[in-house]
């Protein structure tokens, strides 16, 4: 066990272990599974149990990426929401994610500039603030059993995504952000 890994402690560990425990308290089986498994995978990384992986990120051309993204988008838009086709598409992204992200970290890494460090902190505080508002709404909705007075993001977005326009916007946003984060060069 490499305890020295704790020296460069990654805050995502706390986020995921915390989320897994939170969903355990909520009693949401599927969210416990998703965040619990993710927390375990992340912990195996922290303690150095799984250091294997591709030497670098596999590169794909724009055509195969576009085919996968457009096909997914069409299925997610035209088939029943919460239906088996959406289930199939979303699950198919797990092996794709493993393929794209499970490469080992480069030996020499970019040293973050002052601007990057500042940006990291500001975005982390922003995310924390956003999560705090969501938490207040969630706790309020549970304590008073009132989703209208304490609307969470899910409550607000659910009826919007049920409309064709809302669903199109969500699907495009989800797929484009996925390509931006995991699939292609960003600069």
């Amino acid at each position: 066990m490499k305890w020295s890994a704790l020296r460069g402690f990654n805050p995502w560990v706390i986020v995921f272990v915390g989320m897994a425990l939170f969903h355990l308290w909520r009693g949401s089986i599927e969210d416990i599974l998703v965040f619990g498994i993710a927390a375990l995978v992340i912990l195996t990384q922290v303690f150095g149990f799984t250091t294997f992986g591709f030497k670098s990120q596999p590169q794909f051309g724009i055509v195969p990426i576009a085919v996968v993204v457009i096909a997914s988008g069409l299925v997610m838009f035209f088939t029943e929401r919460h239906g088996s086709w959406n289930w199939f598409v979303i699950l198919a992204y797990i092996p794709i994610g493993i393929l794209l992200l499970f490469h080992t970290d480069a030996k020499s890494q970019l040293v973050p500039t002052r601007q990057v460090l500042r940006s990291r902190w500001i975005w982390a505080i922003w995310a924390l603030g956003f999560a705090l508002v969501e938490l207040v709404a969630y706790l309020g909705s549970k304590v008073y059993d009132d989703l209208e007075t304490f609307p969470t993001i899910s409550v607000l977005l659910d009826p919007i995504i049920d409309t064709p326009f809302g669903r199109a916007v969500f699907v495009v946003f989800w797929l484009v952000s996925g390509v931006y984060l995991f699939g292609v060069k960003r600069r």
């Binding site: 990654n10 995502w12 560990v13 995921f16 949401s28 599927e30 969210d31 998703v34 965040f35 993710a38 995978v41 992340i42 990384q45 922290v46 997610m76 929401r81 919460h82 979303i90 992204y93 797990i94 994610g97 992200l101 499970f102 490469h103 080992t104 970290d105 480069a106 890494q109 970019l110 601007q115 990057v116 500042r118 940006s119 990291r120 500001i122 975005w123 922003w126 956003f130 508002v133 207040v136 309020g140 007075t149 304490f150 609307p151 993001i153 899910s154 409550v155 607000l156 977005l157 659910d158 995504i161 969500f170 989800w174 952000s177 996925g178 931006y180 984060l181 995991f182 960003r186 600069r187």
Partner: protein, 70 residues
């Protein structure tokens, strides 16, 4: 206290702050790193890659497959 107004306004304010931060990164990269540079930097670490992927994947699952509202 008008809770719905306070909560929804807070969401909107945070979204606007996010857009403003993105714009500052693009317009003043000497002050704040653009989002692309930030993502490039943090994605060097496998833990962060896994974490970001799971957050992204869960959003798709939560809104398109799983139970969105209980």
């Amino acid at each position: 206290m008008n809770w719905p107004l306070a909560i929804i306004s807070s969401y909107v304010i945070f979204i606007l702050i996010g857009l403003a931060l993105g714009a500052v990164g693009r317009l003043r990269p000497d002050k704040l790193a653009p989002l692309g540079e930030l993502v490039e930097n943090i994605m060097q670490h496998r833990i962060t890659r896994i974490a970001l992927f799971m957050v992204w994947w869960w959003l798709g699952w939560h809104f398109m497959v799983g139970v969105t509202v209980r």
